[in-house]
Symmetry: C2
């Protein structure tokens, strides 16, 4: 599981940062990639990454500002022409209006996709997706326009059957392994009685990734980020710019740190960086934040962050 930041800028593209798009790479976990926001030029960034568009299974939109959605029509159209498995469906989650934007764009341009789109327009807060391996919760933030934060919770992995240990005890593989894996007690042909529970490793706790849309500092960010392995938070402004941040419905780096600390998040990634902060100034944003919170980093375009198990 990795986060790949395809666009880390705020508002408009800059030479060094494209507008927002974040890929959550779940290739090992479900052979899929999830996108969070698709600013203009996201398909161009993907062309320079090793993400394959047909692997994109779900798109979560935080809010409908142009710098977070104007890349959708192009990405969706181009996805029709890429990869062999052209009919792979895609599900798009986002605030009401996302369907109208996409459908109008595709209809006016007479784009006929080779795959179906399912829309999930969010109205209530809560679980927006859940299956055997992941659950995603959404809550509203504070950005003037409706803006959601997403908490992606990986289900715990059951302990693995310790095959090496079984082999050492000369228990031959076969249907018996399945029974042991399910924790059953089995009598072997040679009379030995073995308990599956003795051959199953520790369960692995699932990881939690929280990706917030643009927002002022708000309590829901803390709830969504509770004990997260990684919290991705905007940082449009820097230390001492709290008033400016508030009036533009954005956050400072230090407000993001407060959220991370209150939530008990393990790692804080700052993105949505204003073009005013280039080069050394972006480093300064990180440095200011690190004085208050050790595990913080200002991400840059194309950066890949591994999310390890505990």
């Amino acid at each position: 599981m990795q986060l790949e930041f395809l666009g880390t800028g705020a508002g408009q593209p800059a030479k060094s940062r494209n507008v927002t798009a974040i890929a959550l790479r779940l290739l090992d976990e479900r052979n899929a990639v999830w996108l969070f926001d698709v600013g203009e030029g996201t398909q161009h960034q993907i062309l320079r990454s090793n993400i394959r568009p047909r692997k994109v299974e779900k798109i979560f939109i935080t809010h409908l500002h142009g710098d977070h959605i104007f890349g959708l029509p192009g990405f969706l159209s181009s996805r029709s022409f890429q990869g062999s498995d052209e009919h792979e469906p895609i599900t798009i989650y986002g605030p009401k209006g996302i369907k109208r934007f996409i459908e109008t764009s595709l209809s006016v341009s007479e784009s006929h996709l080779t795959y179906p789109i399912e829309y999930v327009e969010l109205t209530n807060e809560g679980t927006v997706f859940e299956d055997k391996t992941f659950a995603v919760e959404a809550m509203k933030l504070d950005h003037g326009i409706t803006s959601y934060g997403y908490r992606i919770v990986e289900k715990d992995h059951a302990g693995e059957l310790q095959v090496d240990k079984l082999k050492t005890m000369q228990i031959p593989s076969g249907p018996v392994y399945g029974k042991l894996k399910r924790g059953e007690t089995v009598t072997l042909p040679d009379g030995r009685v073995v308990n599956g529970a003795d051959f199953i490793g520790q369960p692995q706790k699932g990881r939690i990734v929280t990706i917030l849309g643009d927002t002022r500092k708000t309590q829901n960010s803390v709830i969504l980020g509770k004990n997260a392995d990684v919290l991705v938070h905007e940082s449009t402004y820097g230390k001492g710019e709290g008033k400016l941040a508030r009036s533009h419905h954005h956050s400072t780096n230090l407000q993001a740190v407060e959220v991370a600390k209150q939530a008990g998040a393990k790692k804080l990634l700052l993105t949505h960086i204003s073009a005013r902060y280039v080069g050394k100034l972006a480093m300064e944003l990180e440095k200011q934040a690190r004085e208050e919170f050790e595990n913080v980093h200002v991400v840059h375009d194309f950066e890949v962050i591994e999310i390890p198990f505990e």
Copy 2:
């Protein structure tokens, strides 16, 4: 007057060519830039050029395929934040539907522009714009979807008053120069009678630039390109791919050459190059065309072509 090619690719962005956008730079002529098509990422390309968004006075859209329009919402939104003279209006010409696409995009994203947009949705062929310095004619091409070609005709420049010649004859500057410039005959204080017509240089013939949307070979391309100084024609396919071009409603390089020859165009620029033609293969497209027409060139992204007077 220059053409600057901001995107010269076909269908989807490629590493070496962005999707279509062409700037007609009229800085000397009217302190303005006109855009022809605005594919996704055009604002990113403009960021890497020396075009200032607020100088963009008019946008002409050839057709509504995504690779020609998906950059519009982003370009128009960002233009609000650039330059000091924020209220400079913009006029957008294009097929019916262009207004719905833009208005939906701006409304869903709650983008509030600092300047007005005037829409001219084309229904009939003919003159779509005319003032003292330029006229623009549009005609329909053959591309499945409604696709227009534009013929931009610069008005002839009146001859300049030959000030040096007047000075040599010791005719002092003053209101008399205005009269002479208008071709009047004037009696000077010293009694000499001078005829303005003797002091006015040759009129300069205006230039003609023809920019066609995607199309099969069609007679209207020849009409629009008649005696053009520069004809910009798509070349999605190469020699020997006529059938493929026809079935996809596109042209080959050699079909573009036929149009240029029949129209008597002075120079042919080939664009909308498929990603299949990279590097040497794009050179080959040009070479094949040059065997039939001397003054032909396959353009690349960011190339600037000067359009001289005759």
